[in-house]
């Protein structure tokens, strides 16, 4: 690959602008140490495809798409190291920024995370992209290769499922109307 200084400057700008969001995306899905690796790998892929990186506002979703693939491709490696981190944790070597620690800081948050885990993988990813990465639903639809209507429906159904899982049995009443979109990137 021939490297021009323009490419390098463009990459540096891309990295500086979006590393925090990409690192956060990875940290929400794998452990902290693995997330750093996955984030670096994501930007290395972006560097190799620097000519393909779309301009804002599509840049970040594009990077999320790469990060998702990186995490998927390296899941086995990542989990091997996750296991090692868990063993370290058993010896008290826990990072205070470890997401698992953050997760259990609130009982309610932990319940939500457990419930999220029980969603189907694709539904969970859609919910996370919407609620955590704060992506507009049209962008999520493009990222997931689905229609906007399908995304709305998936989020609606996922929230229904989450409501059933999170609400006490006594409160399981007819579900309220679909929520409206609350935010976007």
């Amino acid at each position: 690959m021939s490297v021009s200084s323009d490419d390098q400057r463009r990459f540096e700008a891309l990295y500086d602008a979006h590393r925090p969001e990409v690192l956060a995306y990875c940290t929400r899905r794998v452990s902290t140490g693995d997330a750093a690796d996955a984030c670096s790998e994501t930007f290395l892929v972006a560097w190799r495809r620097i000519d393909d990186v779309p301009p804002p506002p599509r840049t970040l979703p594009y990077l999320y798409g790469i990060a998702a693939r990186v995490i998927s491709n390296h899941r086995r490696t990542l989990h091997r190291r996750t296991r090692l981190q868990e063993r370290l944790r058993a010896f008290g070597a826990t990072s205070p920024r470890d997401p698992d620690v953050l997760n259990v800081q609130s009982e309610r948050d932990n319940d939500v995370l457990v419930a999220l885990r029980r969603l189907k993988p694709k539904d969970r990813e859609i919910v996370m992209l919407s609620a955590w990465e704060d992506l507009p639903r049209d962008t999520i639809a493009e990222l997931m290769g689905m229609t906007r209507a399908a995304i709305d429906q998936r989020i609606y159904r996922s929230y229904q499922r989450l409501a059933r899982m999170l609400a006490p049995a006594a409160e399981r009443s007819p579900v309220s109307p679909p929520i409206t979109e609350t935010g976007g990137a």
Partner: protein, 385 residues
Amino acid sequence: MTLDQIDQMVRAANPVPDPTALESNDPAPTAQDLLQHGATVADLEASPGARTKRRSRLVAAAAVAAAMLLVTATVLIADRGRHARPTRPANPSPSATVPTLPTTPSTTVPLLPKGAASLPSTGELVAAINVRHRGVFRLYADGRLIDVWPAVEQRLTPEGVERVRSRFLSSGLFDSAQPVSEIDGLCPIRACVRDDDHWLEVQVDVGGPTFSRAGPEAVGLFDDLERLASWLPATEWADQRAKPYVSPRIGTCVGVFVDGGPAPFDRSVLLSRLPERAAGVLSAHERSADMESLLLPLDYFTGGRSYPITSSESGCFELTLNEARTLADALLAPPGGGTQEGSVIVRSFGRQSDPSQPGATRQQAAHIGFFQLLPDKWPFAAFGD
């Protein structure tokens, strides 16, 4: 509870609500750092051994890709025949396309190795080295030298074991290592060697998912192990032929999923729902805490889920190869009812009543994953690329 409330709860549970907070605790590498690391990929791949391995992996990957393409095409054609639906126009410009997220892989891989098991069924580790993206060598006291990728073994005499162990010690890699009484037997991204009554262990690699930063001593030692035949005397080989390593012990984990999500593991309920022959294999064994601690954090039978399964949601057992083969056969052969999905067997139990919600039913299934174990019981799957 309204769905707006659910939305607020999900947003509140975001483990990283403020991305910039991550940076304050963990100084970020610069773009320059990253590009510099990326360059080391080429450095590592310049070594002949790495090139050879890479070439053979590429050939294997091409074969797998071709098989996947064939399967995918077959499925697509069949699917299109069943559900004619309008196709969306392809996006003409790759630069304008957001990469879509990956879907669960649908490849069919061998669940268990073929052939006679490698004996003895257990072995004591003498030395090991693991260099990212090149491979893993593990030397055992009984003479087995196992190349974890692609799972082949050669056999040395006791003199050969000693010579290779000496090569580890003289590599320079351990010159500054402090002796320790115990090691993490996995030696992840590390090298270790037994020296009298203690161990020496060093980290050899601080690279990333696609690059290695192993030092020259580690690379030199790894090169020597790859071309062992060129320097180990013929008299110190017990069997120089590289044979597939067939694990005599198989770590086997069973997880129960309800409506696609992990559910509490209840051994007695599980056994009552499995075919008799399959239940017979598992009922002869207690759950293995060792296997659960080793295997559960691996992302094996979860079909690409983001979170590891816990011991409350699945149980692991240590089976002999023959028992594992019996279990797999009992599930896959008619009328076992199981299907292979990727590297696991999925056995659906259909819709079952939900004790927490009278009158409700949930789709339930068991996922059974098999893990080849090395002589010291570490699973192959623990050694990522």
